[in-house]
């Protein structure tokens, strides 16, 4: 019984984490933290889109900028599609726009990672509180 409850808890935290990765803020939304979710979604999506606008989708480079790509992938798995498109080399970008675009999209991904961890932690805390009641 205890093991089953522990499994459910892990599954729930995991599903919140996956939701938060799929769409920024969705993890908090699932936890009924709607204002927090809206703020996180708006801030991360705007930062990511600003990075793409500054440097084009060429800043997502899974071949020559793997560490940046890992950070960008934290935004959402949908970034992999952009990476697949940019892999063709049809969107070249160099110099300052490349730097700023990579920094914006990479930081947006790392901020989403922070939100994923926060959502999982909040889900875990709630489970503990409900189990304690």
């Amino acid at each position: 019984m205890t093991q089953l409850s522990k499994q459910n808890r892990t599954l729930s935290s995991l599903s919140v984490g996956v939701l938060a990765w799929l769409v920024p803020g969705a993890g908090h939304f699932a936890l009924n933290e709607k204002k927090r979710a809206a703020i996180i979604f708006a801030a991360i999506v705007l930062t990511f889109c600003a990075g793409l606008y500054i440097g084009s989708i060429g800043v997502i480079d899974p071949v020559n900028a793997k560490p940046w790509y890992a950070a960008q992938l934290m935004n959402s798995p949908a970034v992999a599609i952009l990476g697949y498109l940019a892999r063709t080399g049809n969107y070249p970008v160099y110099g300052r726009p490349n730097e700023i675009g990579q920094i914006y999209t990479g930081i947006a991904g790392l901020l989403n990672l922070l939100c994923i961890v926060n959502a999982v932690y909040m889900a875990h805390l709630r489970k503990i509180h409900t189990a304690g009641d």
Partner: protein, 99 residues
């Protein structure tokens, strides 16, 4: 919002809508021109604002717009002041070493 949407539906031609969508999508396929002058450092300001907002969104226990904005602005200001102080110290060090 609905009113704007209704006006758009009534008065804007489908071709115009398509070209607007194409224009928006095309703006994400070519980079902006950013020169390497000192003003380009100002690009850090929106990024710092985003960091302050997201960090505070994960930290505050309850979200109340006025207190949340206040905390985010304080963090934003703190980061900027810290970066300015660091820049000044580095400038002073460079000046001491080179002169």
């Amino acid at each position: 919002m609905l009113f704007i949407w209704l006006i758009c539906e009534k008065y804007i031609q489908p071709e115009t809508k398509m070209s607007a969508a194409a224009f928006i999508l095309a703006s994400f396929t070519s980079p902006e021109r950013i020169s390497t002058n000192p003003q380009s450092v100002l690009w850090l300001l929106p990024l710092v604002a985003a960091i302050a907002v997201v960090y505070k969104a994960t930290k505050v226990p309850t979200i109340k717009i006025s207190s949340f904005l206040k905390e985010a602005v304080i963090l934003f200001g703190s980061i900027i002041v810290f970066m300015l102080v660091t820049a000044l110290v580095l400038c002073a060090l460079a000046w001491l070493i080179t002169d």
